[in-house]
């Protein structure tokens, strides 16, 4: 096998990053962190539901007017949406390509199997798929209203949320997805830190604790909404 790197052609930075497993992991880490930041904001926004329909709907409206008059109506929201879609696509494509590569790199399994710490890897893979499907459903349900139970009312997210969480399947899908999110964030955050070179023996405990706290806060924060609807705290 020839030394693949010994070429006169100088690959571009993008090429170098995208062609390398380390680079692709960095893409995953960065896109993951972007999504994580969004989720944190999203979660805090969701909690406004506890202050009543007015607060919550007002917040939703503000999201469309933020940045005005510099930005046009909904522009900020669209910018966020574009960035998020790019992040999701980059994350998913990298994950898919890396997973394919990983599976190819270990074509045959050991005859003697034992439980391996690949738990996290497997969780990341199926967890990622679950989250991807969830996002589709979530957008169709609460953004476009395509699969929304009951009548979807644009501009009245408070009612829409209550509609969704008044169905058994809405709750089930959401809660399962949020548990998957917790596991994904728990390994993903720590993993992203390693990928971006922030990990070290000294920092390992802090990073792991941070990952656990993040995962827990996000999961509980998100799940609190359907639970509140189910228990009638929010109605």
């Amino acid at each position: 096998m020839a030394l693949a790197t010994r070429t006169d052609r100088k690959p571009s930075l993008t090429r170098t990053v995208w062609d390398s497993t380390v680079g692709k992991k960095a893409v995953m880490a960065v896109s993951g962190l972007i999504m994580l930041t969004y989720l944190a904001v999203h979660m805090f926004g969701n909690l406004k539901i506890f202050f009543g329909a007015g607060d919550f709907n007002g917040y939703a409206h503000w999201l469309r007017t933020v940045g005005e008059p510099f930005l046009h109506y909904e522009w900020a929201l669209w910018i966020i949406r574009v960035v998020l879609v790019a992040a999701v696509v980059a994350h998913a494509v990298s994950a898919y390509q890396l997973s394919r590569r990983d599976i190819r790199a270990r074509p045959s399994q050991y005859v003697h199997r034992r439980p391996r710490a690949s738990y996290a890897t497997r969780t990341m893979r199926w967890g990622g798929v679950i989250l991807g499907l969830f996002i589709v459903w979530h957008v169709l349900d609460l953004t476009t209203g395509t699969v929304h139970p009951g009548g979807f009312q644009s501009g009245h997210p408070y009612q829409n949320v209550i509609d969704t969480f008044s169905t058994w399947y809405g709750n089930t899908i959401y809660i399962v997805a949020m548990l998957a999110l917790g596991l994904h964030v728990q390994h993903g955050f720590w993993s992203a830190a390693q990928t971006l070179g922030a990990g070290s023996a000294a920092r390992d405990r802090i990073l792991k604790t941070l990952a656990n706290v993040l995962a827990l806060v996000l999961t509980l924060g998100f799940i609190s909404v359907p639970v509140a609807v189910m228990t009638g705290v929010v109605s």
Binding site: S20, G23, R101, A105, S118
Partner: protein, 251 residues
Amino acid sequence: MKLTLRVWRQQNADADGAMSTYEVDGISADMSFLEMLDTLNEELILGGEDPVAFDHDCREGICGACSLVINGDAHGPERTTTCQLHMRAFRDGDTIDVEPWRAAAFPVVKDLVVDRSAFDRIIQAGGYISAPTGAAPEAHATPVPKPDADFAFEHAECIGCGACVAACPNGSAMLFTSAKVNHLNVLPQGAPERETRVLDMVGQMDAEGFGGCTLTGECATACPKGIPLPSIAAMNKEWLRATRKAKKVGR
């Protein structure tokens, strides 16, 4: 001790392999695992059978030749090389599964012997400091702070056995590659080639068909020399730093 061995037998790289079962008796607890296999092979030869092929050389845990997956663990149940694993780690009547390293980049040569030349090519891609003989300055011209020297040594301990790849569910060589990158990149002598080294070695690692790192930590658990998992993060940092400076180093 009396043991049942289930050993991977494969005539050559192209043949199909399968597990074969053998009984061995009179095994002493003081034997090394390889001496136990020697005993089996002596019996196989006298019985007119092909002895089990396995790589081994120094038998003192430093050359990195021995490479067996024992009961699903690279180098077996203890954190050491196969040659330093002694039979006192097993009990009379045990059944032991012995398999070769499995990874696409480590094709089987015969039975338990695999081809690890991909590791050599990773080193050839940049795992060195260009210091032509005779051109060296006085050794004390550049003091190296002890923490850096210790960090370098800790990573230089890698014996290139490939247990990290064998243990990794993705067949990734990140721990091996990072050990050499970190050893050389932390030293002042390694600074001039710091960026090209990590870019080229990672590039070669990928070209050899090793998988990516998903930070399962299996590699560091299997490593007989205790190369730590954060070694990988340190290399990632070096790699990202190098891509940022890519222009400066001419790529």
